[in-house]
């Protein structure tokens, strides 16, 4: 009985509590609902604010993303097997550290054009090596690029220096197109529809003055180093390329044919013409009466690249290029320029009496710029080719081998080099075998270890021309290169 009473009291008390709570809840419901609605509105406002802020930030980021900045440094240690092979300002070296290339590139791209400037630091100073603007249609099928830029010839010239699998380009390119740059206009056709899908065309009209476009900023600022053209002759050049992918087989053959035709105005009466393109060339290959005459540089090239992804260890690339034609150059096989400018330093020693009454020698020096001297032009039939095999091992390693030959003067060979008038060590042909390993430490860092075995054509006529360069036999000028590259 007592238990039932207590239970009834408890139920009554609880019921009362629940009803009181319900009453309290119903009284506060509109307030809570209003509060929730306000909170949702406040949150919505914040989200809208964040969205607006995001779109504003995105607009700024989009503008900034059209500015492209890149750069790289190639720091190198070179070790030559025989003393005196590396010549630097007439000094004999067996090993050295070098900054082969240090570059900063800045550009801006919009829907109808782009502009690029690239500065390079190397041993010849700091130069602006690229300065061009491009203009194209909205689909980028057709592009015209004006300014200082890579010449549109062959394959390896346009291949990025930071992507090169070996430390240097081929011997041919280093001699005939040294610097890879010129000033002019280049037309690009890259229409990826129909029959044009696998074809690309580059055509250029350029000064033809090649590496004298150095645009020096600091260093190498002699009179001869200028961006200006030195004559009215122009270079007409181009490359017609193709791609033939066999997609299901993961195999592709790319290739192209290139042509280079340039005329230079001779400022020299005498021209050394091994190609016999000048009518009055005599047996010593010397032609006279050529002042203001045309000198023609004509080069043909063909290149082929094959890509296989057959091995699970990584892609395989076999690449080759062949060039032949008539080169116009000056002594040392250097790219043609009509004049040379020298700097002469004269020293004078005087005997003077110092404060202590003793006679001492005082050396004074003065530097003077020489007047320009006319360079004797050389016209040489030449030939070069290379074949490179690249095997990737996983994502981080790459082994590379290259075989190449370059004959700067195919007209004169063997012991005739050095014996025939106007020939010299410049006309020696070379064969080089290069082997290297690349280790990609990250997306930015690459370590290259390379060994170059260079073999020269022998000529008994060039025995001991230079104590360090006896061309009667093979000169031991093998080179070991360690290079660390950082690029971004």
């Amino acid at each position: 009985m007592k238990k039932s009473y207590a239970l009834a009291l408890a139920i009554a008390a609880l019921t009362g509590t629940v009803r009181a709570q319900e009453a309290a809840d119903s009284a506060s419901e509109p307030v809570a609902a209003q509060s929730q609605s306000e909170q949702i509105d406040a949150l919505k406002g914040k989200i809208d604010g964040v969205e607006e802020s995001y779109l504003d930030t995105k607009s700024t980021v989009d503008k900034l993303s059209s500015i492209k900045v890149g750069g790289m440094i190639q720091a190198r240690y070179e070790y030559a097997l025989d003393t005196g092979i590396l010549d630097s300002k007439s000094m004999s070296l067996q090993n050295r550290f070098r900054i082969r290339r240090g570059r900063i590139k800045v550009g801006h791209e919009s829907s109808l054009g782009d502009i690029t400037a690239q500065i390079q630091y190397a041993e010849d100073g700091i130069k602006l090596i690229d300065m061009y603007g491009s203009f194209y249609d909205p689909w980028k099928f057709v592009k015209v690029r004006l300014g200082a830029q890579d010449i549109p010839f062959g394959y390896e010239i346009g291949y990025s220096s930071s992507s090169m699998e070996l430390a240097e380009r081929s011997l041919f390119e280093q001699s005939v197109f040294n610097g890879e740059k010129d000033v002019g206009a280049v037309f690009f056709l890259n229409y990826n529809e129909g029959i044009f899908e696998h074809v690309d065309l580059k055509l250029g009209v350029m000064n033809g003055s090649m590496n004298v476009v150095g645009l020096p900023i600091i260093g190498n600022t002699g009179n001869g180093a200028s961006a200006s053209e030195f004559d009215d002759g122009k270079a007409f050049l181009g490359r017609l390329g193709f791609k033939a992918p066999v997609k299901d087989a993961n195999f592709e053959i790319d290739g192209g044919v290139s042509g280079y035709y340039a005329t230079y105005l001779s400022q020299s009466d005498a021209v050394i013409d091994f190609s016999k393109q000048l009518s009055n060339t005599n047996a010593a290959y010397k032609s006279t009466g050529n002042l203001k005459g045309d000198l023609k540089k004509q080069i043909f090239g063909a290149d082929l690249q094959t890509y296989f992804s057959l091995l699970p260890i990584g892609g395989t690339v076999l690449r080759g290029e062949f060039y032949m034609g008539n080169n116009v150059c000056i002594s040392g096989n250097k790219v043609y320029t009509p004049y040379s400018y020298g700097v002469t330093t004269t020293t004078k020693t005087d005997s003077v009496t110092n404060a202590s009454g003793k006679k001492v020698a005082v050396v004074t020096s003065a530097t003077t710029s020489d007047a320009k001297a006319v360079n004797t032009p050389y016209i040489k039939p030449m030939m070069g080719w290379y074949a490179t095999l690249i095997q990737n091992l996983g994502d981080d390693f790459q082994i590379v081998g290259r075989f190449e030959q370059f004959d700067p003067n195919t007209e004169v060979t063997g012991d005739d080099v050095g014996k025939v008038a106007n020939t010299s060590a410049d006309d020696i042909a070379y064969t080089q075998i290069s082997a290297g390993v690349n280790y990609f430490l990250s997306g930015n860092v690459k370590l290259t270890v390379e060994y170059d075995h260079k073999m020269n054509e022998t000529s008994a006529s060039l025995k001991n021309v230079d104590p360090r360069k006896d061309y009667s036999g093979d000169i031991n000028n093998d080179l070991l290169t360690l290079q660390l590259q950082y690029k971004f």
Partner: protein, 277 residues
Amino acid sequence: MKILSAKVLLPILGAALVVGATSGKTVTVKGSDTMVIMAQRWAEAYMAKHPGAVIQVTGGGSGVGLSALVNGSTDIANASRPMKSSEMNQLKERYGSLGVEIKTAKDGITLYVNEHNPVNELTLEQLREIYTGKITNWNQVGGSNSKIILYGRENSSGTFAYFRDNVLKGKDYAPSCQHMPGTAAVVNAVSKDKNGIGYGGAAYAKGVKEIAVKKDAATPGVKPNAQTIKNGTYPISRYLYMYLRNRPSGEAKQFIDWVLSPEGQAIAVKVGYFPAK
């Protein structure tokens, strides 16, 4: 020369071969936002069946994924568009490889409008003119007199590129188009905007109305579904790809083989896409 080269090069080549042949068990997958949910489902199901295997999936867009493939920061790139020739050239330069393309599923790019919008179908020509800014009012295509608000994807997205190349025929998007960071964001924006129109993968078409697309004015409108995408009558369909630097091996190969198996393809269908074959 022979002695020096052998001493220097052989140990390096040996080390290269050993390291090059070694592969870890974690497989990273990066790229297309359109594919990210499907790829996550694949990864979850695969890891459940293969204890010890780790498949890491992230989005970012097809361009981001393919860029990561080139710079070596992902093993597999998901892409809702084919690889561009410029991207392939980068692979050729760095890895000597053409890349390996795997078609993993099919997708129909769906056009969404707000569920209160009276417009039910549009021709490809009308879509092109809407997104290039030539048609700016819904009453020009049979709707109410109100301004068309455009929503699209960011330019790193494969869907952005596919829509521009195949629907806009290479023309630029109208400047007024708002480029959203993901397809889900496009759907969300259109569901809240009664004058909005957006596009994205079929898997995301929730809470909005799908538009039937007509090849031209004379043909009937077609909505994206398994049948119309498989038989090609839906005019805006595409493959969804995985790209690798080289032929897959190890865990990556097992994962891809499984993705292409009936089990993996069933997950693609469950998420809202269609089998690759």
